[in-house]
Subunit: 265 residues, 2 copies
């Protein structure tokens, strides 16, 4: 049943199921929040779940800033594409790829950490932050909360760093608005590509995978008629990736990271 | 109780708890697997969970190759630092940051997707792959399976791409060895940094956060005496980030991505 919604295909089922899988399959982005607070105990639990995610060589190259102050949320919303739900959410978590902690360690020890100059290490920062944040997303849903990621926090990373007082070698990777879902929100579970489009066995088979796209375009067009700006998946992807003008400033990310102290040598 | 293990601190507790949080907090890397297979139904469930994770603008810029063939696993193990558990695991998932699907769409439509030339888009590929893969990690644990990520799949990305028949604009992000944990494995739940070292409120406070590191160094040294190569966290981090020689070839990632068709403009 939950697989049917996930794939927008009444025939889709799973041969194994449990409460955790059902929770994961029922994920949707929440952009309209009820008035109840996210408690400090809940915040602690979300971060403990995040810290439980795997991390490369136990580097733990991330930090998170929990923002509740309405004025700071408003300023961050303005920096991140004026998305009103950021202000409306009781809790806005800004996930930070943070090589600063290791750089400060090195400075105190008088040691070299030249590996941190390479794109590989910056990518470990982003990846490990994502692994952690996804655990927080699932933890939030297990507590009856909802959330939505905010990639637009990368539209103006230097201003976000100043607002949050980030030290050098740290960058806001994405935001996560968290709160109790408002049941009046008009939203659904967005169907994903058929599993055959993303799962390959032994070797990648582009023709077999891409053959699923036409069906998915129909599925998502139907969904978008009800819930989204209209359009097929293919059209939305092409529109989103058209060029630098479709990137809200993020085409400058490499130079910005360099200035923030996360070089991509 | 699970918070105590997670933080290596008998006094650590959570004010809220449920089965999902307990599962997440009990995470550990599994590197020794029992003989039972991972069924196809389980594989389907892991991938459905992965596809349920959030993805930027619904781009779904990832694919996954499920490897069960013993000879292919052996060749991948050789490419990824000769880690024997890759061969031993019944299932090895290679997670692929995949801009190829969108590039092929564009080619068929005669459209431009110049945004895919920028580091921002490559990073979206890595981040969204990580969000998906972490859902698979949690799903696996909910089914009684264990796993470990293999970043060393990035040691030799071109050879891995050839082995898996990856198309242009696709790169193996990390591997995930999956199987039933062998109960005889000598391993524990690795303590993480105290929450105060990573969680900031309203603004980042480096001095307050870093003040927790000395205690953590002691906690992890004690853990490492039992389970790992010895050393404090600080020493391990400095050793890991020393320089290009500590990166097993991954200092070349930027040029390699360029050649694979994931430029970082």
């Amino acid at each position: 049943m939950s697989a049917a919604a996930r794939y927008g295909d009444p025939a889709a089922t799973l041969g194994v199921v449990n409460d955790v899988l059902s929770l994961q399959l029922a994920h949707r982005s929440v952009r309209k929040f009820g008035s109840r607070e996210v408690t400090d105990d809940e915040l602690t639990a979300l971060i403990a779940a995040a810290q439980s995610a795997p991390t490369s060589s136990n580097l733990q190259p991330w930090s998170v800033v929990a923002v509740r102050d309405p004025e700071r949320k408003a300023r961050l919303a303005a920096l991140a594409g004026n998305q009103a739900f950021i202000e409306q959410a009781p809790l806005f978590l800004v996930w930070v790829a943070d090589l600063g902690r290791a750089r400060r360690l090195a400075e105190r020890a008088g040691a070299e950490v030249a590996a941190a100059d390479y794109l590989e290490t910056t990518i470990i920062g982003f990846v490990d932050t994502a692994l952690a944040a996804q655990n927080a997303v699932v933890a939030a849903e297990s507590l009856g909360l909802g959330s939505v990621f905010v990639g637009a926090i990368r539209n103006r990373p230097e201003q976000v760093a100043a607002e949050l007082g980030l030290p050098p070698h740290a960058v806001a990777t994405f935001g996560l608005a968290v709160g109790a879902p408002d049941p009046t929100e008009h939203a659904g579970i967005k169907p994903r590509l058929p599993q055959g489009a993303v799962l390959h066995r032994e070797q990648y088979d582009a023709a077999a995978a891409d053959a699923h796209i036409a069906t998915y375009d129909e599925t998502l067009s139907a969904y978008n008629t009800r819930f989204g700006p209209p359009g097929s998946w293919s059209n939305r992807v092409l529109d989103r990736l058209k060029g630098p003008e479709s990137m809200a400033g993020r085409h400058r990310l490499r130079e910005t990271l360099e200035r923030l102290g996360l070089p991509s040598r």
